[in-house]
Structures are given as structure tokens and as C-alpha cells.
């Protein structure tokens, strides 16, 4: 009985299945899972008035939010592909997922930008 519980615990916390981008026991290095703070900061600065300041922590929080956004939308797009028995996630799927998740406002500017 005790042995079963022990082995269950081991299986529960086994991350060996997850592929690793850069070693370190399946944990992705910071620079791999976030977009560069300089790029993120620049986009933030461009949308704000000239006298606005942005704290470093705010930029870091935004980095985390963007990565979560990418994962969230990709997950939805990937589910759609899976259901339709397709292997490749394409631009259509991303646009569809954005609309499904409430980001339909992005569709028009996306189309305009891509066509320009």
C-alpha cells in the first residue's frame, strides 16, 4: 500500500515527457519562453503618450502576458486542427482562434497589415 502511494507520487511529478528546448530538466530557459523585453517595451512605449513612463516590472508582466496569449490562442487553434485531423497549424487557424476567444477586433487590422 505504502509502495503504491510512493510510486504514484513519483509519476505525478514526472516531467520527463515534456520536451526541453534547452536542457535543465524540462524547464525552458527564461529567454526562450518570453519575447524580448526591448521589443515588448518598444511596442508599449509607441502606444502611450510621450510623457509616459513604464516600470521594468510592468514590461516583465507584459512579457509574461504575451507568452500566455500565444499559448492560449495556439492551444485553441491546435484543438481545431486536431478535430479536423490536420497536422499543421496555419494562419487561418490562428485567425479563427482569435475570433473564437473574443479577439475578433484584431481580424480587420491583421488583414489590413498583412495586405499592405
Amino acid at each position: 500500500m505504502v509502495d503504491n502511494i510512493g510510486s504514484y507520487s513519483c509519476q505525478k511529478y514526472n516531467f520527463a515527457g515534456a520536451s526541453s528546448a534547452s536542457g535543465e530538466d524540462g524547464i525552458m530557459k527564461e529567454q526562450d519562453r518570453l519575447l524580448p523585453i526591448a521589443n515588448v517595451g518598444r511596442i508599449m512605449k509607441q502606444i502611450l503618450p510621450p510623457n509616459a513612463k513604464i516600470s521594468k516590472e510592468a514590461k516583465e508582466t507584459m512579457q509574461e502576458c504575451v507568452s500566455e496569449f500565444i499559448s492560449f490562442v495556439t492551444g485553441e487553434a491546435s484543438d481545431k486542427c486536431h478535430k479536423e485531423k490536420r497536422k499543421t497549424v496555419n494562419g487561418d487557424d490562428i485567425c479563427w482562434a482569435l475570433a473564437t476567444l473574443g479577439f475578433d477586433d484584431y481580424a480587420e487590422p491583421l488583414k489590413r497589415e498583412i495586405l499592405s
Binding site: A21, L48, E64, T88, L101
Partner: protein
Amino acid sequence: MRQAGTYSAILWGGLSGRRGGPHCLPLARIKKIMKKSGDDVKMISREAPIVFSKACELFIEELTQRSWMVTMQGKRRTLLKEDVASAVIATDIFDFLVNLVANNSCNSMDNPDQEINIRSKLI
């Protein structure tokens, strides 16, 4: 062969003129983050990270603008991470970020009462 969808046609039509052009965000990094989102994300088309590059820009712009409104309400000129957290909590489509910003707030908080306030907002 699958017929190209509306967006694929638009994308390829537009991209042929912009091939190799500068993007705001690094496409390889976006692709890495996409792959990490799930085990079943195996193959990603060439234009998907490009679509995301623009979508992320729009996302950052929207969240930044909403955060800035909170900053101004506080009569400040420096956008803080707490302003980002407030904007997330106040916006329905950013619900998926609620746990992320709550974790960030809790880690740096000295006052346990503040923690209770934020948690009660999330319920």
C-alpha cells in the same frame, strides 16, 4: 489538397511582397512559444508566426492602453505592473491572464490584507 481558406489567400498574397521584411517580434521565438503550448502542436505553417507577430502587437497595444487608463485614474505617469493587473481583471477577454497577474502580485506583496482583497475580486 486542402483549399486555401480566406485568410491563407490574403496572407500569401500579401506576404509575397513582404518576404524577409522586418517584423516587430522575433518569429523564431514566437514559434518556440507556440510549440511549448502543447504536445500536439507539432507542425506550424510559415505564416502562422507572422500572423502572431501582428496579433501580439495588437494585444500589447490593447493591454497597455487599458493599463494606462488605470495609471491615469491614479494620477500617475508611470505605468506599474499593478495597473496591468487591474486592466486584466477588468477585461473579460483577458480572463485567461487572471491567475498569471494574481501570482505576480502575491509574490511581491508584503501586506497579507492586500492579498485577500485581490483574491476576493477574482471570485
